[in-house]
Symmetry: C2
Subunit: 300 residues, 2 copies
């Protein structure tokens, strides 16, 4: 199957929607904080695909929700994702100079500014999750569930634990269980929380939640496997960073453990599983289905 | 006036209460995340005075609230404070090796672990603010207000902006306005939010809120001025770090701009102002009054 031009048009229009909302929801301050908000916007606007915020909106659509009112939630998750990239790129962490063809935040500014820009993006994400418009539009109990869902997926039960495990695994052979732990926490947890968060706010029933959670885990793992493959054989110009950097850093990756063919096979199996998770939905989940293909076939 | 032994007994018992709650509310994980939660607990338990969580409880008491149910909020604010210390101590920031007589987090562990421990503490703070017990005990609209209050005080409108301004001011003369900006954002914002947050949750009326907000700003500024004074003439053994480090780093401080006597005078004036802010309260605010003296007279 190949993705239709209509999918890419829709993807582009949702990306534009998210970009406009981010510009609006992350302020640009003057005075001594100007450098801080400049660094935040620099990294926010560095050409991200907006996969996670789009999953928020698509998850809501799958359960019949109207997604216009979800923009603070979608932007909050993109702020969390962007903070994690800024901190991961730091010299003490992955020490990357380029991301999507542009200097990383600590290269464009400096290390202290990059640390603070990440801290401010993470904090601002929770300011957005407590947004007056969300409070007015959705029942409070759902909002609290979403706050717990996202803070768990992003923090010590999720993404930060995954990054810790990734660093601890560098330079030595890892077991399949360790690699699974890393992918599950570092990447899949926030992707799964994104799909689920929009749906929970819009009143998904337990069966729908289970299905979307399963879909989210599967495309989350597939996303990281494809990332590992692209690092080995992607196009440097499209990726905007040197190919082979995982190998050079002796990072734990799926192809290193299972070979390129094994990695491709697993990514396809996850896609298949993700599509099966959506069986209880009708055409209202077609965009989620297309996103699963997109995650598998992306070049960036 | 000197503080009574009863004040110190009460302070100690509230510190113990907060310490016990922190141990309980910040998990210790096994597996790859063990190092992460170990670093978080290392810095959380490094001998902090627990001023901010105690202000949460004392602010609630001033408006007649029962503070037992506020512990997740109190712990959340201590997590935010601790994350800010860990990140401020990093080599790219203030580059400090010692805090309260113990190696800083990046010295005891390593830089990457310290960055991640800070990130996880900040994220976990919001997990605690969305705690099931808070949701059950307090009206949702108050909880959302507190979420906004704290995320603004900690992020780009508050603490992080203050740290950015502090770094930008290093090594050059600063104006009184710049110094005020730094103290206001870096230190006073979170202290003021602490006093206010407990009171807001417990249903403070607008007049009480204004009074506690004013008290909070004033003791927040006094706290930072006293900090600057202690850095110049405190006792190294009590402080657990070298005296004169602000001078060495050419930090913007109150005594540098106004002299030691000027700094002492301003701290006393702020104490007086803080006590006046509390005039509408009776004995239920006595602990807040004592804390104001304590902030001024502390040696640590």
């Amino acid at each position: 199957m190949s993705l239709s031009p209509r999918f890419f048009e829709r993807l582009k229009s949702w990306q534009d929607l998210v970009n406009g909302a981010l510009e609006h929801m992350v302020p640009r301050l003057s005075g001594p904080a100007a450098r801080l908000t400049e660094a935040m916007h620099y990294s926010l606007m560095a050409g991200g695909k907006r996969l996670r915020p789009i999953l928020v909106l698509a998850g809501a659509e799958a359960v019949g929700g109207s997604f216009q009112r979800l923009l603070p939630l979608a932007c909050a998750i993109e702020c969390i994702h962007t903070y994690s990239l800024i901190h991961d790129d730091l010299p003490a962490m992955d020490d990357d100079d380029l991301r999507r063809g542009k200097p990383t935040c600590h290269k464009a500014f400096d290390e202290a500014t990059a640390i603070l820009a990440g801290d401010a993006l993470l904090t601002h994400a929770f300011r957005l999750l407590a947004h007056e418009d969300l409070e007015a539009a959705f029942p409070a109990d759902r909002l609290f569930r979403v706050l717990r869902l996202i803070s768990e997926a992003a923090g010590l039960y999720g993404m930060v634990a995954g990054q810790m495990a990734d660093l601890l695994a560098e330079g030595r052979p890892v077991s399949p269980e360790e690699l699974y732990f890393i992918h599950h926490h570092k990447t899949a947890a926030l992707i799964r929380a994104s799909v689920l968060a929009g749906a929970v706010l819009c009143g998904a029933d337990p069966e729908e939640e289970r299905a979307l959670s399963d879909y989210g885990w599967k495309i989350g793992h597939a996303f990281q496997i494809v990332d590992d493959i692209l690092d080995l054989e992607g196009d440097e110009e499209t990726l905007g960073k040197p190919v082979g950097s995982d190998l050079e850093k002796k990072k734990a990756t799926y192809p290193a453990l299972y070979g390129l063919e094994g990695a491709r096979k697993e990514a396809r199996a996850l896609l298949q599983g993700a599509l099966e998770s959506l069986e209880l939905f009708g055409p209202e989940a077609d965009f989620l289905r297309d996103i699963a293909y997109y995650v598998l076939e992306r070049k960036l």
